[in-house]
């Protein structure tokens, strides 16, 4: 069966099935199946008002009609206690604003875990919608000596049942057959009482027995691998190796790729600027729009790379093991093991890290991780640290060639960010986001080879999600900043920085930042660095009439005149804690589907940065003078 996408006018659709919901427990291969059925004809969005994402796609039935598939979150049951389950129930009942009740349901179960998964089947079938039950991963069932009588199961459940494999493609014709039939409402032989999990479980076992269900044994090599990966010593060693590999990939591969992209975009921008006639439009298009687009695209290499790595770790099954190993340490601050990889990647850049928090199922833990991720010293802070430290701290060696004063200062800033992250996590744990009601329980999937197609589809998906939702915000802020630095214009020429709107704002906020030892020029730098932290260097360079690239020492000298050593310390501390990255704000907004959390985060971090910088200014002032 092929699912090649061909557009069809809606008016030609017959009275057959139109919208079908796809539902299934986690670890049932539902996503792989959905991707297989819809391919690239899918898009991602958020359900209104919640952080739950949904994918919608299109598929052709056997008669050639177009059917919309909506992918519901992975749920074990339909208890409206968790957000995911509530969303699933709302959609299936037709209560979700913006979507009508689906015409049918495709239920995806893992044929290797039937007793557990039939519990969801009972709930879904009880809703009375035409249902197709797919027993997925039939290839694994067969290879590992399992067995099930599909006809018997179909009779007991009163719905069509098919053994399929999303990976090999077998059995999928059942889907198109189901979609083009005028599917009847299910008539099961018996269903357990809704609400009682224990009796439902017993019902599931009975049904399985009647269908001669034989569960395959856990593959021996999964157990053997776990013996190594979760070994008391070797497991920890392998974990460390994987962690370092992730870190290295992001820094040694992702960062250079990003820089490459940046220079390519800049060079193209210059060429385009030379082609277009000079003037206000040129500036708008090149410095505004093109630069804005560039500031979005520059994140793509790191996002895609990180998601590739995480995709491999997740699909292979190792991510669950890594989360378990990391859990002991993470639970001490009220987080769970799944926060580890996102927080680690935040050391490179918080943007892909925050997107990576979607692997954390618990909403509470996910938001807590998102809130503390920007405290990890990201690579954009490094140029600022380097410049300020180099300007004010002579390099003396403390431990021979191993440690100098400058390296120590840098290290202290890393530690500072880390400590604040831990403190914030603990603060959240005892106040706003208590972790008492979401304990750490993790189902460990068997080890599998990751599938390239699956991975690629996921990369396309994440890339699109970032570009459309976060990209638009970043672009907007970029244009705003362009406007602020390029107005008011005189005879079509942009003003000198000192006379522009942003400078006026800098002057306005000067009284507020004076207690930190900053003047209006630093103020302007703080404002422009909202675009990206390292922009402050270019801004200060422009304000002092110095090119930071070629005359770094001149800029350092200029900084000396502008800041006292104590103020320099304050500036470093401010940068360590402040949320000065609009891209981060944009991504937080996208991942939490609202402005509430980014606003809270911005306010909190600005407050922490201000107070800490104030304290640093005065304490350093007393120590250094």
């Amino acid at each position: 069966m092929t699912c090649h996408p061909v557009a069809r006018p809606i008016g030609e659709t017959s009275a057959a099935v139109r919208t079908v919901a796809v539902i299934g427990p986690p670890n049932s291969g539902k996503t792989t199946l959905f991707n297989r059925l819809t391919g690239l004809r899918q898009k991602v969005g958020n359900f209104p008002g919640v952080t739950v994402e949904h994918h919608t796609g299109h598929i052709r039935d056997a008669a050639g009609n177009d059917v919309a598939l909506i992918d519901l979150p992975g749920v074990y049951s339909l208890n409206p206690k968790s957000e995911d389950e509530k969303v699933a129930v709302d959609v299936l009942m037709g209560n979700m604003p913006g979507s009508s009740r689906p015409d049918a349901v495709i239920l995806v179960l893992n044929s290797n875990n039937l007793s557990s998964h039939l519990v969801l089947a009972a709930r879904v079938i009880a809703l009375g919608l035409p249902t197709l039950v797919l027993l997925n991963m039939a290839d694994e069932l067969r290879e590992q000596g399992g067995h099930v009588d599909v006809l018997s199961l179909a009779r007991q459940l009163g719905t069509p049942v098919a053994l399929v494999s999303a990976v090999t493609g077998e059995g999928l014709f059942a889907v198109s057959n189901f979609l083009s039939s005028s599917a009847p409402v299910p008539e099961p032989l018996e269903l357990p009482v809704v609400g009682n999990t224990r009796s439902t479980r017993e019902w599931a076992v009975r049904v399985g027995e009647n269908a001669k269900y034989r569960r395959p044994a856990t593959p021996v090599w999964t157990r053997r691998l776990d013996g190594i990966f979760l070994h008391r010593y070797w497991g920890a060693v392998i974990f460390a190796v994987v962690v370092i590999a992730v870190f290295q990939t992001i820094f040694a591969v992702g960062q250079p790729l990003s820089n490459l992209m940046q220079s390519a975009l800049d060079a193209t921008g210059v060429r385009l600027g030379n082609i277009l006639p000079h003037g206000y439009l040129n500036s708008l298009l090149i410095n505004g729009v093109w630069k804005g687009t560039g500031s979005v695209l520059v994140f793509l290499p790191q996002i895609l790379l990180l998601f590739l790595v995480i995709g491999i770790l997740e699909d292979s099954g190792y991510l669950a093991r890594a989360a378990i190993i990391a859990d002991k340490t993470m639970s001490r601050v009220g987080l769970n093991g799944k926060s580890f990889i996102p927080l680690l990647s935040a050391y490179a850049c918080a943007v892909p890290a925050i997107m990576a928090t979607r692997t954390i199922e618990s909403k509470r833990d996910r938001i807590a991780t998102i809130l503390i991720a920007p405290f990890m010293t990201c690579s954009a802070r490094l140029p600022v640290y380097t410049m300020v430290i180099a300007a004010f701290l002579p390099n003396r060696s403390l431990l021979g060639p191993f440690l100098g004063t400058r390296a120590l200062a840098m290290l202290s800033l890393y530690v500072l960010g880390f400590l604040m992250a831990v403190a914030t996590a603990k603060l959240l744990n005892s106040t706003v986001l208590r972790s008492t009601d979401t304990p750490f329980v993790l189902e460990m999937p068997p080890y599998r080879w990751p599938r390239p197609i699956s991975l690629s589809l996921r990369l396309v998906d994440r890339g699109k999600a970032f570009l459309y939702r976060a990209g638009t915000v970043i672009m907007l802020v970029s244009l705003l900043l362009w406007a602020a630095t390029n107005f008011p214009m005189h005879n079509g020429q942009p003003p000198a920085v000192q006379d522009s709107v942003v400078a006026k704002v800098g002057h306005t906020i000067e009284p507020v930042i004076r207690p930190l030892g900053f003047d209006w020029k630093i103020g302007v730098g703080l404002l422009t660095s909202i675009a990206a932290r390292e922009v402050i260097i270019a801004t200060l360079g422009t304000l002092h009439g110095v090119d930071p690239e070629s005359h770094a020492s001149d800029l350092q000298a200029a900084l000396h005149q502008e800041l006292t050593p104590a103020a320099a310390v304050a500036l470093l501390v401010f940068f360590a804690f402040a949320m000065q990255c609009m891209s981060t704000i944009a991504v937080v907004r996208r991942e939490t589907n609202g402005w509430k959390w980014p606003a809270i985060q911005f306010a909190y971090m600005t407050l922490v940065a201000y107070i800490a910088a104030y304290a640093a200014y005065h304490i350093a002032g007393r120590l250094i003078g």
Partner: protein
């Protein structure tokens, strides 16, 4: 017990394994009761931790916590503070309590 009292035998300390947390790695038992909030108990049951089924402690992770349990072929990792609330009955344990 009466036997021991009658013959003056010193009562041997019975192997008490009340909860999942008390089991050693490699031991099996039958899940008897889940002493947790209903939504949490339900989540565990959905994963496969159902009263009446046999659970085995598969392994302990580096550090001793969390531990991995196998029930009905599904492997579940759980922290100690949670496994303390899942009551089990050792295989071959006497029907009346000691």
């Amino acid at each position: 017990m009466i036997f021991n009292v009658m013959f003056g035998r010193k009562k041997q300390p019975a192997r008490q394994a009340n909860a999942l947390a008390d089991l050693q790695v490699g031991e099996s038992a039958i899940v008897s009761d889940i002493e947790l909030a209903p939504s949490l108990a339900e989540h565990l049951m959905n994963l496969g931790m159902v009263p009446g089924l046999e659970v085995t402690v598969t392994r302990s992770c580096p550090g001793g916590d969390p531990r991995v349990y196998r029930v009905e072929g599904t492997e579940i990792a759980m922290r100690r503070d949670l496994s303390r609330h899942i009551h089990v009955q050792l295989l071959g344990a006497p029907a009346f309590g000691d």
